[in-house]
């Protein structure tokens, strides 16, 4: 638990959610771009996983981490901040994404982006000896 909390401190804070870019030929809302603080663990075009940390008790330090989406590093800005283009919003967490799109105060502090993608979530199916 302690190691996990320490590791979390190395991850950049999510500072803003913006709606721009994406594929103009695709109807509907533009994709979400998350703006993160500077970090040297996010390389160009890296696939990332987006989590929402739901506090387990009021004021408590423990939280449950929901995987809510997959994205990629679309830009490292000149000021060092990282842009994450959201590629996939998990349908099981539509409400959280709506809150992110509305830029509700307080929601972004629970959003954590990690520079890795769990097996099976990247859209890559790997079968060995099957």
């Amino acid at each position: 638990m302690v190691a996990r909390q320490q590791a979390r401190h190395r991850l950049p804070r999510t500072r803003a959610a913006l709606l721009f870019g994406g594929d103009p030929s695709v109807a509907g809302e533009p994709p979400v771009t998350l703006l993160l603080d500077r970090s040297d663990v996010f390389g160009s075009n890296l696939l990332v996983t987006i989590y929402y940390n739901e506090p387990l008790n009021v004021g408590g330090a423990e939280s449950f981490e929901w995987l809510i989406g997959v994205g990629r590093v679309s830009n490292t800005q000149e000021d060092g901040r990282i842009q994450i283009l959201v590629l996939s919003e998990l349908a099981t967490h539509v409400e959280i994404w709506q809150r992110i799109r509305r830029r509700e105060a307080g929601v972004l502090r629970h959003v954590v982006v990690k520079p890795s993608v769990p097996y099976g979530e990247a859209g890559v199916e790997v079968r060995i000896n099957e």
């Binding site: 500072r15 803003a16 913006l18 721009f20 870019g21 994406g22 594929d23 103009p24 695709v26 994709p31 703006l35 500077r38 970090s39 040297d40 996010f42 390389g43 160009s44 075009n45 696939l47 997959v70 679309s74 830009n75 490292t76 800005q77 000149e78 000021d79 060092g80 901040r81 990282i82 842009q83 283009l85 590629l87 996939s88 830029r103 509700e104 105060a105 307080g106 972004l108 502090r109 990247a122 859209g123 890559v124 199916e125 790997v126 079968r127 060995i128 000896n129 099957e130």
Partner: protein
Amino acid sequence: MSDVSTRTELARVVHVVDSSGFEAVISRGARDELKPGQRFLVFAYGPEVMDPDSGENLGRIELVRGRGEIIHLQDSMATIRSVEKRSGRPSKRVIRDTSMLGIATGRGQVIEEDWAAEEVLPFRDISVGDLAKPV
């Protein structure tokens, strides 16, 4: 990575080749030691963005127009073509058959299949004066 101290001076878009927005010309060329195939990210500065929780001004957001690859070099200019693919969940199937039977039958190989054909997109809203940086 995000080491801003290593940034070189930004190039500018000086010409958009056609209205479809697949190709553009930037203000760097062979004399800047660019090479064919090098990739640039094209962007423009957008509005200032505020942190909704703290109210802190985060500065001006960079609006990404897309990424392009050098296809033609002149002394002081380079033509880049978009390499941006349709956004979406990556879609690739990898099948590994490393069993003895697979090796014996010649099937002991890695097979990669794209689930959907990739489609290159034009730069989005690119215009003269936009900025470009190597990526």
